[in-house]
């Protein structure tokens, strides 16, 4: 051992340690440390003892990492040379106090290693010699001191992060101090051998260590640990401490099952909701507890057993039931069968959820396990868990037979999951409950038909689709024949309405005859498949109870007995396996006896028929599953007679229905153990009594399933005509979308569906179906956490949407809105679809796009872009880029369309106006200066990336993936545009090129000026500068001038200056009467204009464009005090009438109601007179327009009908109008009070005959008051003449009543005269 240190080495170490000390930067220090450590560990003890102080000295380094490293080196030296422990342990104790937590933690990490080694060495040394050397004793005592020091840290509240490691240290010591049941019970034969230390070795005695004492200490420490988790101590702990303690406890419980019983109660009483640290973080502790319980659950030690139920309960509460089941499953797979038997009893309650998993796995365990399912009843009665253990074996044996049914019933659902790569829902949620409900109702027979209907009508289409799907697992392979679809449907209906309580023999006959009606079916069948079809005959059961408890071995004898008893049919569900023997199929029908043998052979448990049945079902060989072993000797002939005599070709659709109805029904009868006792006539036709059988569920091979699924799908697709007639297209759509997405994608169902949709998009509810599929796929892509599924779904989504969009683009006219609608409503628009839209807007940007695309397509694309900008804010930027890209398109047609969109529709949107402006400016600059282009585009890119960066940050939480993918696209596009820009402008830009880039800018300028001028002018007011400009406007600024003038005169009386200026301008420079319009109301007629002038000017106005006319009219109508309104309006009226009806209505309302300033501009009468004054021929106004105007007047009934007749002058006008506008005016005339009506008829005789004829119509006549009818001579009325007189007098007299009105009238007259 003793050697002299190599001088070179010594020198090297010395220099190393001093260079560590004096190295400047941390990196090189640590590197030197590493080297030092490496070299030091090579040295032997003697040399090290000399060198140790220098290393201790390293610890004085100010840098934490160096101190940590020094500690680590010293620790390792200690482990290697335990004789240094008395020196190193005090050092480590000092380091525990280090201000840097990482250094202090390193001390504990070194300590545990050192402690373990010292303990081992002490223990083993003591085993082989009765006395220990003092050095070792001293080392050990130092280690104990170190240990106590660390303990104090572990249990001292608030010692921060170092506490975590200290707690781990406690765990390690507890484990070291307690016997390891899995460790080697005996020490190694000699000191040198290294096997894992086990304190048990010291049982025989040790000079220094006492196993008992150590164990007591461990126990005490454990109590301390446990106390930490008890309330209220737990409240003061941080999450990390709780997590570490929980982890440690579960590790101890697992490794030292003796403590299981002490640890579990504490863990179980831990209340997860109480882990609220600062009100937020509970998950860590909660999850740690869950994992701890799960790992405890996996413990197979007997002392763990009594706790399982409670752990399971707790886990279920924590919503980890599924995981618990999995854990149990693992345990049982690992466990030997003997132990398992024992455990079963304890697991009885929890077994149910497991059954499926086991069955799916098809393991032996599974089969046995399911056997215990029903025995829970027995077990529940047995309250004492200890007793259950004993009870189990017999229980499970006895109950196995009874349980056969349950197993096979559930098998139907499970079989579909057996190919685990396939993803079919096997949830037991609402869908399965509904299936159960349906089953229960169907089982009730015909009386439940009504309830069934109600149930179905109350279920949403989607849910119903899921129910059907869930039930489809039970489908046998079916092969519908295309030609016979319609008939099949009918048949289905018949079968469906016929509840399956019993099927008389006639039904069998029907089936057979049907099958012979459709011989092609048999030939259609895939020759590789044998298709089992089952007809189940609801039978009676008399001695069912006997059967249940009967010794399974006596099944044969039992069958024999019942055979004699002709009246008693004992089977509940009696599936008759029939077999379609296909041409070319070589498999002979296996004789039941063969199968029976096989069954026994395979199951290995006599009497466990179900086991074989299970095997049969899970077997992919359909043939072997055709005939169940449950059909024993007694049924042999029966089976053979069916199979042998005439292969029964059962109609697929029927068997489909059968099994759909059957399996839930069977489940119901089984669970409720209901026994029906109807003896049917089938008995006579079946002389053989068949023993009880399980539900007829046949497991299909993958290929068979695929075929069935595809055929079913195609059938639903094809059935649209029938469904359109019969209703339920909602269900169909749901089903198609669901199936298309959920069934394996190899079947290419989506393609089938797509083809169907696209073959007639409109009539096949293409939009609806497409969206349903898209939403399904989208949901799948979003929901699935699994990379495979979500990528596949996302890919399928894109394919589907793109294919539909492309077809819509190619096969529909551009005016069609389907594409726009689809893109507006699809849940997400992937890049490829957006590219399609981009190509539509800018023909020629990609090679694929057709150059010869018509302008209408561009319009289609742009209007889609426009609607997407409004509808889908997340992709607004991309769509905007499309529009902008088109706005600088090289084809002028495209460019103009796009500019119109951008300038008129998009630019007014505040949120994007800025972007549009920037883009337009950039384009403009690109023409002006190539350098500028490059600079700005670079700037643009930077600012864009900035924006994008910000956008992404803020989106982080929102996780809007649409935006994510989009922003990159938008960058692409703008980069593209700019690139093409730069390349173009590199050479000196041609005129068309300049136009291309500039037109958008100027379009925007126009918009911007028009938008801002009113604000500007209003703010400025009428300054002298402005007046100067107005007096001498630059040429070409007429429109702008008009806008300025309108703004200046809006809602206010213009100043004399302004009026004078305008008048002057009109007289001198601008002969255009249009500029007078804004001030017309204010023109002081007597001073500046004669009446003739005005008429002349107004006549000029009338010649103006319609738009200006309307503006002018509106100006008048806004109630300005215009002295010549009436004349003017009269002159204008023909043009007013020529306006679109809605504008006319508005104008009339204005005229009649006037404004706050003025009161009515025209009275109703004046309006009518004005209309009357229109000569259709002279004024060039279509008669239709005149009529419309009248009707519009008449619609203002409240004004017209009440007032007109009160003014004699107007009355005449009214009547003329009425004559002119008959028959539309009849309804108004008939609303007149009888006296006025009579007067009217007397004055205008020409009205009478047609009006009477009109009123004679039955429906009108019925609605008229008697008095009116009397006036018309349609009803005898004695008083009519006197009434007429009165009315005439009244009508003639204007001055008697309504003085105010008369005054108004007069004033009107005077004003009109003036």
């Amino acid at each position: 051992m003793v050697g002299i240190m190599n001088p070179v080495s010594r020198e090297k170490l010395a220099s190393l340690s001093s260079s560590v000390k004096f190295a400047i930067d941390l990196g090189s220090k640590l590197e030197l440390c590493r080297q030092l450590k490496h070299d030091l560990l090579e040295e032997d003890a003697a040399d090290l003892s000399e060198f140790l102080p220098r290393i201790f000295d390293l610890y004085s380094d100010p840098s934490g990492p160096v101190r940590k490293f020094a500690t680590e080196i010293i620790g390792e030296i200690g482990v290697k040379h335990l004789e240094f422990v008395p020196e190193i342990a005090p050092f480590l104790i000092t380091v525990l106090e280090d201000a840097t937590p990482a250094v202090a933690r390193q001390s504990i990490a070194c300590s545990i290693d050192l402690f373990r080694h010292t303990l081992e060495k002490t223990a083993i040394r003591g085993l082989y010699s009765s006395e220990l050397d003092s050095d070792l004793e001293s080392s050990w005592s130092w280690m104990l001191k170190l240990k106590e020091k660390i303990y104090s840290i572990a249990f001292q509240p608030g010692s921060g992060g170092i506490r975590l490691v200290a707690l781990k240290f406690v765990e390690a010591v507890i484990l070291l101090y307690t016997p390891n049941p899995n460790g080697s019970p005996e020490p190694p034969p000699n000191e040198g051998t290294s096997i894992e230390f086990n304190i048990t070795w010291l049982r025989g005695g040790h000079p220094l260590l006492n196993v008992g004492d150590l164990s007591i200490e461990a126990s005490q420490r454990l109590v301390l640990l446990l106390d930490q988790l008890r309330f209220p101590a737990v409240k003061s702990l941080t999450t990390s401490v709780i997590v570490v303690i929980i982890n440690s406890l579960s590790a101890i419980a697992k490794k030292r099952p003796a403590y299981y019983g002490r640890i579990l109660p504490v863990l179980l009483s831990l209340d997860p909701p109480s882990f609220v640290i600062k009100g937020v973080h509970v998950y860590g502790a909660h999850h740690a507890l869950k994992n701890a319980l799960l790992s405890c659950l996996k413990c197979t030690h007997p002392s763990a057993a009594p706790w399982r139920e409670r752990i399971l309960g707790a886990l279920k509460e924590m919503k980890a039931g599924g995981l618990a089941d999995l854990a149990l499953n693992q345990v049982h797979k690992i466990n030997g069968s003997v132990e398992e038997e024992k455990d079963d009893s304890l697991l009885i309650k929890e077994e149910k959820p497991l059954t499926k998993a086991y069955d799916a796995a098809g393991s032996n365990v599974g089969r046995k396990r399911s056997g215990t399912e029903d025995s829970s009843d027995l077990a529940e009665k047995d309250e004492v868990s200890g007793k259950r253990v004993k009870a189990t074996p017999s229980v499970s044996e006895e109950s196995t037979k009874e349980l056969n049914r349950n197993i096979t019933v559930s098998q139907g659902d499970i079989s579909s999951t057996q190919s685990s790569t396939r993803k079919v829902d096997v949830d037991t949620g609402p869908v399965q409950q509904l299936v159960g409900m349906f089953g229960a109702l169907v089982a009730q027979g015909e009386k439940a038909v009504g309830s069934l209907g109600i149930l179905i009508s109350n279920i949403s289409a989607d849910l119903l689709a899921e129910v059907v799907m869930a039930n489809m697992c039970n489908l046998p392979p079916t092969h519908p024949h295309a030609d016979t679809d319609d008939e099949l449907l009918e048949d289905m209906c018949i079968v469906g309405s016929d509840t399956q309580a019993k099927y008389p023999p006639s039904f069998l006959a029907d089936v057979i005859s049907l099958s012979s009606t459709f011989p092609p079916i048999a030939s259609m069948l895939n020759s590789q498949q044998s298709v089992p079809c089952k007809i189940v005959i609801q039978k009676t059961e008399g001695k069912e109870e006997v059967d249940v408890v009967a010794d399974p071995n006596s099944a044969l004898a039992y069958a024999g007995t019942t055979h004699e008893d002709e009246n008693a049919l004992l089977a509940t569900d009696l599936p008759v396996s029939s077999n379609i023997v296909l041409p070319g199929m070589k498999i002979d029908l296996p004789t039941p006896s063969d199968i029976h043998d096989t069954g026994n052979l395979e199951s290995g448990i006599p009497g466990l028929d179900s086991s074989f049945h299970n095997d049969g079902l899970s077997d992919t060989q359909a043939a072997s599953s055709l005939v169940s072993t449950d059909i024993e000797d007694a049924s042999q002939e029966q089976a053979t007679s069916f199979g042998g005599k005439s292969p029964l070709h059962v109609l697929p659709s029927i068997s489909l229905d059968r099994s759909e109805e059957l399996s839930p029904k069977a489940a119901v009868t089984d669970s409720s153990s209901l026994v029906s006792s109807t003896v049917t006539s089938v008995v006579s036709s079946c002389p053989f009594v068949l023993p009880k059988m399980s539900a007829p569920v046949v497991n299909l091979s993958e290929d068979q399933k695929d075929d069935v699924q595809k055929l079913a799908f195609v059938r639903i697709v094809e059935a649209y005509k029938q469904i359109a007639v019969a209703g339920g297209s909602q269900v169909r759509s749901s089903l198609l979308a669901y199936l298309g997405v959920e069934l394996p994608s190899e079947l290419e169902l989506q393609k089938v569906l797509r083809e169907h949709i696209l073959s007639d998009y409109i009539n096949h509810e293409g939009h609806e179906l497409t969206l349903r599929v898209l939403y399904r796929l989208f949901g799948k892509a979003e929901d699935e956490s699994d990379f495979l599924s979500c990528t596949t779904a996302a890919s399928a989504y894109e394919t589907f949407l793109l294919a539909v969009a492309e077809t819509l683009r190619d096969s529909f006219p551009p005016s069609d809105k389907s594409l726009s609608k689809l893109l507006g409503e699809a849940p997400r628009l992937p890049k490829s679809v957006l590219n399609l839209l981009g190509c539509l807007c800018s023909p020629g940007i990609s090679e694929k796009a057709e150059e010869s695309q018509s302008g209408d397509r561009v319009t289609q694309g742009l209007s889609t872009v426009w609607s997407l900008i409004l509808l889908r804010p997340p992709i607004r930027d991309v769509c905007l880029k499309f529009a902008l890209q088109s706005a600088v398109h090289h084809l002028e047609e495209v460019r103009m369309k796009a500019i119109r969109l951008v300038a008129n529709k998009l630019y007014p949107l505040q949120s994007i106006a800025q972007q549009i402006e920037e883009f337009a400016r950039e384009m403009l600059l690109s023409v002006v200066n190539v350098d500028a282009t490059e600079r700005t585009s670079a700037e643009g890119l930077i600012s864009e990336s900035h924006k994008q960066g910000r956008g992404e940050d803020s989106d982080l939480e929102k996780s809007s993936n649409e935006h994510q993918s989009m922003s990159s696209i938008s960058k692409d596009i703008s980069a593209d545009v700019r690139q093409s820009e730069t390349s173009h402008s590199g050479s000196s830009p041609s005129v068309p090129e300049a136009q291309r880039c500039m037109s958008l800018y100027f379009a925007l300028c126009t918009k911007a000026i028009h938008r801002h001028i009113p604000i500007l002018v209003r703010t400025m007011g009428l300054s002298s500068d402005l007046l100067e400009i107005i007096s001498d406007p630059p040429s070409g600024s007429e429109n702008l001038l008009m806008q300025v003038l309108q703004t200046l005169t809006e809602g206010t009386v213009p100043s004399a200056e302004l009026i004078f200026t305008i008048k002057k301008l009109f007289d001198s420079k601008l002969k255009d009467v249009e500029i007078l319009v804004p001030v017309l109301p204010f023109l002081p007629g007597h001073e500046h204009f004669t009446q003739d002038d005005i008429y002349e000017k107004v006549a000029g106005i009338i010649c103006l464009e319609k738009q200006i006319l309307v503006d002018a009219l509106l100006g008048f109508m806004l109630g300005t005090l215009f002295p010549i309104t009436f004349c003017l309006v009269l002159l204008l009226f023909p043009h007013l009438v020529n306006l679109p009806l809605d504008k006319l209505q508005a104008a009339l309302t204005r005229l009649l109601q006037g404004s706050a300033h003025s009161g009515p501009v025209l009275t109703p009468a004046e309006v009518l007179i004005a209309i009357h004054g229109i000569d259709p021929e002279r004024d060039g106004i279509p008669l239709k327009k005149v009529t419309d105007a009248c009707n519009a007047c008449f619609e203002q009934r409240h004004i017209f009908t009440q007032q007109i007749w009160k003014y004699p002058k107007l009355w005449v006008g009214f009547l003329k109008c009425a004559l002119l506008t008959k028959p539309q005016s009849f309804s108004v005339l008939l609303q007149l009070p009888p006296p006025q009506l009579e007067n009217a008829l007397n004055r205008t005789a020409a009205l009478k005959a047609p009006l009477v004829a009109h009123a004679s119509q039955q429906n009108i006549r019925n609605s008229l008051p008697r008095s009116v009818l009397a006036v018309l001579g349609l009803a005898p009325d004695t008083q009519s003449s006197s009434q007429a007189q009165t009315s005439q007098a009244h009508t003639g007299d204007t001055s008697n009543s309504e003085k105010d009105a008369a005054v108004t009238e007069k004033s009107k007259e005077s004003s009109s005269a003036g």
Binding site: R116, G161, S240, H287, S789, A794, S965
Partner: protein
């Protein structure tokens, strides 16, 4: 950088590699792993995934898939992903086989199942060094977009952890502030090497 980081997902392709790539760019000492039995990549359909062993170079997968159906694998983002991956490291590595890679200070997982597997694996190792390791689960959906978001969040968290002297003392505060900031639930546990 004080700590050693490991990014773990199931196949060491998408989420862990996205984070690995990002953290690497930021200069972190980072590795990445998968906990699955195999490396599974989407295939033409769910039933036909592309399955590789851990250790198969990304380049190999890239070439394989490009040969099989370049259009499909480009569209669903697999080829671009593999291309990114092969620029980060040679091949996917399995977490359970990484004992030789030394101790990590911080392990990020992106799925609870993976989190549990990492913890279980760590518990099953001989915990003799008593070197604590923080295992954080950040639930991230396994698609390209979410992986990118998840990686940025992971980076943010790593930066916060880096900023403190010892995570053992401040992990609760870091978690609370992180959850308040990102509104995402985190799960963490502490294990030991």
């Amino acid at each position: 950088m004080k700590f050693r980081y490991a990014m773990v997902c199931s196949s060491n392709q998408n989420r862990s590699m996205e984070a690995h790539s990002l953290l690497k760019k930021q200069g972190f000492d980072v590795s990445s792993y998968g906990t699955g039995a195999h490396v599974k990549l989407p295939g033409p359909s769910l039933r036909e995934p592309n399955v590789y062993e851990f250790g198969t170079p990304y380049k190999h997968m890239f070439d394989d898939l490009r040969r099989k159906d370049p259009e499909l694998y480009k569209r669903n983002g697999i080829l671009p992903m593999l291309k990114r991956n092969l620029s980060v490291k040679l091949a996917p590595q399995r977490w359970q086989d990484n004992a030789a890679d030394g101790c990590f200070d911080i392990v990020f997982t992106f799925e609870e199942k993976v989190f549990d597997m990492v913890l279980e694996d760590l518990h099953n190792r001989d915990q003799v060094l008593l070197k604590s390791v923080l295992v954080i689960n950040l639930e991230v959906k396994d698609n390209h977009e979410e992986a990118a978001i998840g990686a940025r969040i992971a980076l943010d968290l790593c930066e916060q952890i880096e900023a403190v002297e010892s995570w053992e003392d401040s992990i609760d505060d870091i978690m609370v502030s992180f959850e308040n900031k990102h509104r995402r639930k985190l799960l963490y546990s502490i294990s030991f090497y």
